[in-house]
Symmetry: C3
C-alpha cells in the first residue's frame, strides 16, 4: 500500500466538500448553488423514468424545483468512498438519509446511495454523472428510485433464530 499524494488527499477533501454542498444547498433550496456542483453537461438519474433523469446544469436545476412541494427537507450524507480512475477523474459512492416533510406534516424518508463520476474542471471538482439508488424507503416515500443491488440468499437458506429469547417478538 503506497501512501497517497498530498494532491490525492486534498482532492478527496474537495470532493467530500462538494458532495456535502449538494445536500446543504438543496435543503436551503439554493438551486443555483445546487446546479453549481454539477458539470455543464452532467447526467443525473434518480430513477428509471424519464422525468427522473436530467441532462445538463440548467435541466437539473429546473428538475429539482420539485422539492418545493416539501415544506422542509434534510439530506444526511455519509459513507463517502472515493477512488481515482485518473488524475482528473474520480468515482464516489456515498449514503444518504433524505427526510422530507409535507405542508400537512406528513413525512417521507428514503435510505439511499449516490453513485457518482466526478471530473476536475477549471472550477474545481464537479459531478459529471450522478445516479441515486435506494436501499430502503418508508411508506411516505413513493418516488420510483433505482433499487440498490442486494444478493439473494442461496436456495434453501433458512433464517437462524437469533433474537433475544428473553424478549417477545
Amino acid at each position: 500500500m503506497e501512501s497517497s499524494t498530498l494532491r490525492q488527499v486534498t482532492d478527496r477533501d474537495d470532493i467530500s466538500f462538494l458532495l456535502n454542498e449538494y445536500c446543504r444547498a438543496l435543503d436551503a433550496m439554493d438551486l443555483d448553488a445546487v446546479a453549481a456542483v454539477f458539470t455543464r453537461d452532467c447526467l443525473v438519474e434518480y430513477g428509471p423514468e424519464d422525468r427522473l433523469k436530467s441532462r445538463g446544469r440548467a435541466a437539473i436545476r429546473t428538475a429539482l424545483e420539485r422539492l418545493w412541494r416539501w415544506k422542509r427537507t434534510s439530506h444526511h450524507l455519509s459513507n463517502i468512498q472515493i477512488a481515482f480512475s485518473a488524475a482528473d477523474e474520480a468515482r464516489a459512492n456515498s449514503y444518504v438519509i433524505a427526510w422530507h416533510e409535507a405542508a400537512d406534516g406528513s413525512t417521507a424518508t428514503v435510505w439511499g446511495q449516490y453513485r457518482d463520476h466526478l471530473v476536475r474542471t477549471a472550477e474545481g471538482w464537479r459531478l459529471a454523472v450522478r445516479r441515486q439508488v435506494m436501499n430502503g424507503n418508508d411508506a411516505g416515500f413513493t418516488v420510483n428510485l433505482f433499487p440498490a443491488e442486494r444478493r439473494p440468499a442461496p436456495a434453501g437458506w433458512v433464517a437462524p433464530v437469533i433474537d433475544n429469547p428473553l424478549r417477545e417478538k
Copy 2:
C-alpha cells in the same frame, strides 16, 4: 485550484475529530469531555431563547446537564464542511440527526445543522461559537431551535406530479 497544505489537511482531520467528540461525549454524558471541545469563552446558541444560550465552558457544561432528562441519546454527525478564514480560524458546517429517548420510551428526533467558528488554541482546535439550526423535527421534539433557512418557491409555482403513477399516494 491549489492543493491544500499538509497542515490544512491535518487541521480538517483534527476539526472533524473534535466535532465528532462532542457527539460521543454527549451521548456518554461525559460532560467534562463535552466542555473540553469548547473554548473557555465560547458562545453556544441552540435557539433564540435565553435559556438555550450559554457563554463559557462552565456554562455550557451546566446547560447540557438537561440531557439527563433523557434515558438514551444518539447524535449522528455528517456532512462536515470546513473552510479556513485564517491560519488559526475555521468555519464548519455539519449535519446532525439527534435521537432522544425518554424514560417512558417515547422518542424525540431532530434533523439539524451545527454552524461553528473554530480557533486553534494551545490545546488544539476548539469551538468558539456554535449555533444549531433545525432542518426538521418530529412531533416528540419540542425544543425551540433556530429554524434553518429555506428559500420559498416563486409566487405562482405549481408542484409537478412526479410520484410514481403506479402507486397509490
Copy 3:
C-alpha cells in the same frame, strides 16, 4: 499540536474507506467483500451472547448470513474518529444507524457505535477487533447488543423545564 504526516493522513482515509466498505458490502449482501475487511483471525462481538461473537474471517462471514432474514438493510456510518496507537495499529470509533426491513414490511432500527482495533496488513488496513454497542433502538430491533456507556445523573438531580412553553407537550 504537530501536523500529521502524510502517511497518517492517508491512513485515516484508507481506514475510513474500509469502515464504509463494511456497510456497503453488507447492504449488498456481498459477504466475501464483508469478510475481506477483517483480519483472518479477527474477533467480532455484537453483543454478550456467544451467538453474537465470531472469531476469524470465515466465522464472521457465516454469522452475517443472518442478515438474509431481512429484505432490505441500510447502514449509515458517521462520526468516524481514528487514533493511532502505533505506526501499524489504530483504534476507531464510529456511529451507525442501521435500518432493517423484513419481508412483511416491518422495520427495525438501531442507533449504535462500532469500537474497532485495526492493523495494517500486507493487504492494507483490516479490522482486527470490532465490538458494536447500542446507543438506542426502536421497538422493532430486538437483538441483544452491548449497551453504550452513559453516565447517570448525580443523586438528587432534577430535570429543568426547558421545553418551549408555547407548545403543548
